[in-house]
Symmetry: C2
Subunit: 146 residues, 2 copies
C-alpha cells in the first residue's frame, strides 16, 4: 500500500535527510535539516500506514526494535543526556519514529525540540557531535547487514 | 529500583493527573494539566529507568503493547485526526509514554503540542471530547481487569 503524494513513500535523495540504510520493512534516515540537533534519526516504516496500531503486533515489535537499535547506537556513541522518541505524523501521516539524542547544553534542553529555545546553540559542541555521526551511520549499517 | 525524589516513582494523588489504572509493570494516567489536550494519557513504567533501551526486549514489548492499547481506545472512542506518541523525559527521566489524541481543530494542530499555538481552543469541541473520557477510562480499566 502506498500513499499518493506521500513524501515518505517517495523516499529518495533529499537535502532534508541522508538515507542510512533500508530493510524490507523500514528505512533509517539521518535528519539534515535540523542543524541544532545533528544526532537526529528517523525510522520510517515502509508500508504507508498512519498510526502505530495500524501495524500488527509482530510489526510493532519489529518497528520498536529498530527504534531501540538506533537509540542504543546513539547512547553508546554519544553519551547523550537523554534520548527523545516520538511518532507524531501530524504533517506527514506515514508512520515514522524520531530518535533524537539530547544534551543538556543543546539549544532547547530540557524543552522538546519543538518547544522554545532556551539558549544559543554551542557550535563547538555541535561540531563534535557531527564528527561522530559517520561512524554511527556505519555501525547501524553493519547491524542490519549482519 | 526507585529514584529518590522522582515524582513518577512517588505517583499518588495529584491535580496534574488522574490515575486510571495500575498493573505490576506500569501505570496509566490521564493528564489533567493540559486543558487544550484533554485526551492525553501517559503510560508510566513502574521501574525507575530513564530510557526505553534500559528495558529488556520483553518489557519493551509489554510497554509498547500498553501504549498500543491506549492508542486503540483513543482511536475507537474519539476518532482523532492523529495520535501522537512520545517518550521524552528531559525533565523527569523516568520512562513514560505520552499518548495524545490530536484533532485538526485543536489549538496546535498540525504542530506538536509543545510547539506554537495555531489558533484558539474550541471550547465546545473540547467539552465534547471531555465528555467521552470517563467511558474511555472505564474501557481501559476493563481491558486490564480482564
Amino acid at each position: 500500500m502506498s500513499g499518493a503524494g506521500c513524501e515518505l513513500c517517495a523516499l529518495g535523495e533529499s537535502l532534508a535527510w541522508r538515507q542510512v540504510l533500508a530493510t524490507p520493512h523500514f528505512t533509517v534516515l539521518r535528519v539534515l535539516d535540523a542543524p541544532a540537533f545533528p544526532a537526529f534519526y528517523r525510522v520510517v516504516w515502509r508500508e504507508h500506514v498512519a498510526e502505530f496500531t495500524d501495524l500488527a503486533v509482530a510489526d510493532r515489535q519489529r518497528c520498536m526494535e529498530a527504534v531501540a537499535t538506533v537509540e542504543s547506537a546513539l547512547r553508546g556513541g554519544l553519551r547523550p543526556r537523554k534520548i527523545n522518541l516520538a511518532a507524531l505524523g501530524n504533517m506527514v501521516p506515514h508512520l515514522h519514529w524520531h530518535v533524537i539524542a539530547r544534551f543538556d547544553w543543546d539549544s532547547h534542553f530540557p524543552q522538546p525540540i519543538w518547544g522554545t529555545a532556551q539558549r544559543l546553540s554551542d557550535e563547538a559542541k555541535l561540531a563534535e557531535v557531527r564528527l561522530a555521526l559517520p561512524a554511527l551511520d556505519a555501525q547501524l549499517q553493519a547491524h542490519w547487514a549482519a
